[in-house]
Amino acid sequence: MFLALRDLAFAKGRFALMATVILLVAFLMVLLSGLSSGLIERNVSGIKLMKATHIAFELDNIPSYTNSFVDKEMWEAWAKVPGVSAMTPTGITAFNARNSNGTALTVALMGVVPGSFMEPNVLAGATFASDPRGVIISDELIEKGVKVGDVIRLDRVLTELKVIGTAAHANIGHVPIAYAPLPLWQEATYGPPGGPPPGDELPKVLFDYASVIALQVSDPAQLKKADDEIGTVTLSREESFNAAPAYREEVLTVFLIQGFMIFVSAMVVGAFFAVWTIQRTPEIGLVKALGASTGYLMRDALAQALVVLTSAIAVGGVIGYMLGRYIDTTGVSFKLESAAVGLNIGLLLVAGLIGAALSIRRIGSVDPIIALGAER
């Protein structure tokens, strides 16, 4: 790195220009990573909070929380699968609704069996034990003005839900969750509008259906076999993010933006080092004539690229991180996850190095004869 560092110091103006571009890209990458993690968090925070290790969906090419439909036979079969320590049917339906004061809301009604591992932790208010027609709502609905004691009325089906408690921020498909006892969810989802006719009961069969089966699995060995026998698709909790509405599309969009930025920076770095290498052709020829091998010069140049890229990315990353920490406090859906940030920054560095390496290759074709002067 002897020559690399001195060339770097000597031509700092030119390197600064390129480094600034990379710095800005690194900065944007951190913010973008924070935004995408925030976006994803808002989409699937409710899934992340589930105490299930796996979720069994109705057999489908693209499993979906909101389209899945499972019956009692299935969940009873799942209860007997070896390696499954607990299971509970769970329902998910999105509803438009109105609060007692007339505010329009969208809620993801999640029907959970009271007392099962799917029952949410209550932060304030009461649990299902106190009221079989009560719901426990995500903190986000509290932020939207709903209070414990309010009654939320679902549009069309007209089911009334009494808010009895609050739970942590929990979304699915960006919609805040209202946890209801499973029978109440089944009534709202499958029952006739307005509930049973006065004096009548809802048909029993209604209560044999749910959306998915939440599982606590201690040994996943039998899952595949059980899926085939029962007619379900079982995903781990993390895999099941893909089954949340719009999750795939969001991740793909963010992935494309990040990929594009990484690609563009690799091009910028490649173009810079192409021009730089051409400009220093006389120097390369000279040093080769003095006995430096192509390998020595390539290592030197690559080390130079590494120094420039690492410092630019580090500075840009740190600035982005600090700004991100601030944004984190403002309530915008933003989340700095060190793994995601680290991965993006790492990819940026690797892509930059590849861009540089491709350009630096031309060191190999410089003929040391040029050191002997202008007459060829």
Partner: protein
């Protein structure tokens, strides 16, 4: 003559260009230079002087013939091995000095040490001593842009000696300098040749520099002409 041979060319022919554009830049050239001897090469433009340096320095492989540097047959080596010989046994002094713009005078010499491995304190001492011997100890920290043409050329000479070469190949060292500075440089080359016991092959345009050489070779059309200078005759 019992002195060791530093550089020898044996029936070297170099054909350049391809197809019907071929030019015989060197035509059956033979020469021997002993260690401590300074040989000047003169000749009209296009007579093959630079080609001779290129072949002797392993920058071009001759079409025919052999080059020996000390005990090493340069022509028997692969490209990478020839680079290695340049690194360890050959010193180049180029026209217009050819220094790396970003390096201080001292670093120009230290670069040679770096290319040859991991430099030690001894290498740095040697570099300083060499700079001192060309009168530039006080300017060791200056970059080429902060040195005059003559000073740059002296750094170039010091650099060429850094790897303790067997052979010094010098291409028109004075072409960018005025007469007095040019004389200084050639004098310096002559004394360093003796001091370090290297075989020096110096191409020059400037007839007034020839008196500093032990021997003068004349080239024409890629051939070395039979010895004609009184000094050359005397040497044989």
């Amino acid at each position: 003559m019992s002195a060791a041979i530093g550089l020898a060319a044996e029936h070297v022919t170099l054909v350049l260009g391809d197809g019907d554009q071929q030019i015989t830049a060197l035509n059956d050239v033979s020469l021997q230079i002993t260690k401590g001897e300074c040989v000047a090469v003169v000749g009209p433009s296009g007579s093959g002087k630079s080609s001779l340096l290129a072949v002797c320095g392993g920058l071009r492989a001759p079409t025919k013939g052999r080059i020996r540097i000390g005990e090493t047959d340069l022509t028997a080596l692969k490209d990478s091995q020839r680079t290695g010989v340049r690194r360890s046994k050959i010193g180049f002094v180029f026209q217009q000095s050819n220094l790396v713009p970003s390096l201080s005078a001292l670093d120009q010499l230290m670069l040679i040490a770096h290319v040859n491995g991991s430099p030690t304190k001894a290498d740095e001492n040697r570099a300083m001593k060499l700079l001192d011997s060309v009168g530039l100890a006080a300017r060791a920290r200056r970059r080429p842009g902060q040195l005059s043409g003559g000073e740059c050329q002296r750094v170039g000479i010091a650099r060429a000696l850094m790897n303790r070469p067997d052979v010094l190949l010098v291409d028109e060292p004075t072409s960018m300098l005025d007469h007095n500075r040019g004389t200084d440089i050639v004098k310096l080359l002559a004394t360093q040749t003796k001091e370090h016991g290297v075989a020096t092959l110096m191409v020059t345009h400037d007839a007034s520099m020839l008196s500093w050489a032990d021997r003068v070779l004349r080239m024409e059309d890629g051939r070395v002409l039979p010895a004609s200078s009184p000094m050359a005759t005397a040497a044989q």
